[in-house]
């Protein structure tokens, strides 16, 4: 698989069906260090299914997914524990990732304008703030590959812009980011647009060219 050489993510011929409904029928996607990839497609096209399979939280029926380096996955709906505070979530995941400190959490909280909520229970957070916590939990261990399923749902404009600052910082440090998005106007931000339709992926650059190594 020549195209996958040096890739952080290489998915090939991924198939997935829910009963008789075939969602993915041979989807392939490759991403290299430092690339920002958008997965786009209509509602029900299978974008979230694809991301779950890439993340390893859902089994594919057939196909191959190879990931190198540390992986971070931010699910579409925040997966939190209502009774725990933001800080307790951060400590729980710091234990999971075996982190030596919460320094990175503090940095991310600062970048996303999140610091004042750290003592609040998740149940008391607004939708956008829950999503910030959801995102930070995926970023806490500074992963090499980040899979984000519509990560800015509920964000206000200021937070949305801060989110892109975080993404720019990650890219500058060679991290690979795959984002499911519906926002057409932000297409120019991405290196690769992966169109998911009829169960397969067609990759192009924002200018419409076929990227050499992305599919």
């Amino acid at each position: 698989m020549t195209a996958a050489a040096g890739a952080v993510l290489a998915a090939r011929d991924v198939h997935k069906a829910y009963g008789r409904r075939r969602v993915l029928t041979g989807a392939s996607l490759t991403a290299r260090p430092g690339q920002l990839v958008a997965v786009v497609g209509e509602n029900g096209a299978g974008k979230s299914t694809l991301l779950k399979i890439l993340a390893g939280t859902l089994a594919a029926d057939r196909g191959e997914v190879r990931v190198s380096g540390r992986l971070g996955y931010c699910p579409q709906d925040p997966v939190l524990t209502e009774n725990l505070t933001v800080d307790q979530h951060l400590r729980y995941f710091a234990a999971a990732y075996r982190l030596p400190s919460l320094k990175r959490a503090g940095e991310l909280a600062g970048m996303l304008g999140f610091g004042q909520y750290r003592q609040q229970a998740a149940a008391a957070l607004s939708g956008g703030t829950r999503q910030k916590l959801n995102l930070i939990l995926a970023l806490l261990h500074d992963p090499d590959l980040l899979l984000l399923d519509e990560p800015y749902q509920g964000f206000d404009w200021e937070t949305y812009l801060r989110f892109w600052d975080v993404v720019d910082d990650l890219r500058a440090r060679g991290k690979t980011i795959v984002i499911i998005t519906h926002l057409v106007f932000e297409a120019a931000r991405f290196d690769v647009l992966a169109d998911l339709a009829d169960g397969t992926i067609t990759c192009r650059t924002p200018s419409g060219e076929a990227p050499g190594v992305s599919n």
């Binding site: 939280t57 191959e64 992986l71 524990t81 982190l99 030596p100």
Partner: protein, 279 residues
């Protein structure tokens, strides 16, 4: 190529050198305990339901003498029907409170636990921490329930200890059942129904006052049989039936084992092997 050919790393390993700031077991244990303790409805049931239930059952049963044959020893005991009913009521309230508290806590955090495992939490650590938290909650609730019983009846210290032991095993059993149902059933309603109806049937049928056939062999197959026999034997017959207490523990162990196996299956990722990236 099959799906089992998927090769991926988990979200870990450590991002930086140096000892982890938060050890996995104490962190998981502390937060599991906190999560259990913050169930306000269970707390309300504990504070309000237990004494009211004792009082109600005592009023209904009265203080008349009741003769029955204790299944475990074969001896016919003549006891105060109200006192016997207090034991049965205590066991019953434990089934509901502990079963409900553990079921709700496990159910609410299942997806979160899956995310923790995906992030690198060791399964065995998470399972051990949750088990310990459940056992501690069960023990505290049993102690409280046995203590409230003293407001209605003052047995001797040894007799009360037998009741406490029976209560503790009962709480462990239904805590383990709450764990099993929490990872097994699809909806909240099914879980609550199974715990409430199961607990009612289980404990009601063991009480000879409510069920004249309470010494039928089939009842030995019910989870509350062992704790009920131990508590009644110890408090009325000066017989400490350790084998029956162990039988209750066996039920607890079986429910817990089933629940933890399903918990492990439902929270596991698809990690096969790591491909560490050169850094």
């Amino acid at each position: 190529m099959s799906a089992t050919d998927l090769a991926r790393p988990a979200a870990g390993p450590p991002a930086a050198a140096g000892p982890a700031a938060y050890r996995q077991f104490p962190t998981a244990w502390r937060f599991a305990l906190r999560n259990q303790a913050r169930n306000r409805l269970a707390g309300l049931l504990l504070v309000a339901f237990v004494p009211v239930w004792y009082l109600l059952m005592l009023v209904i049963a009265g203080h008349r003498p009741l003769s029955f044959r204790l299944y475990a020893t074969g001896r016919v005991l003549t006891v105060d029907a109200g006192h016997l009913t207090l034991i049965s009521a205590g066991l019953n309230s434990l089934t509901i409170i502990v079963g409900f508290a553990v079921f709700a806590a496990i159910r609410k955090t299942l997806a979160f636990d899956q995310r923790l495992v995906f992030a690198g939490y060791r399964h065995a650590t998470l399972i051990a921490a949750k088990t310990l938290a459940i056992a501690m909650v069960a023990a505290v609730v049993a102690l409280y329930t046995a203590a409230v019983l003293l407001a209605f009846w003052r047995p001797g210290p040894a007799e009360w200890a037998a009741i406490l032991a029976g209560f503790a095993v009962m709480a462990l059993t239904y805590g383990a059942l709450g764990l099993l149902l929490g990872v097994l059933v699809r909806g909240d309603l099914e879980g609550f129904f199974l715990i409430i109806m199961g607990g009612l049937m289980d404990t009601f049928l063991q009480n000879p006052l409510g069920n004249p056939l309470a010494n039928k062999p089939v009842l030995a197959w019910f989870p509350s049989f062992g704790p009920m026999q131990f508590a009644v034997g110890g408090s009325f017959g000066h017989a400490y039936l350790w084998g029956h207490l162990a039988l209750g523990l066996a039920w607890a162990a079986a429910f817990a084992a089933g629940g933890l196996v399903i918990f492990r299956i439902r929270t596991r990722g698809l990690t096969r092997r790591r491909e560490p990236r050169d850094r």
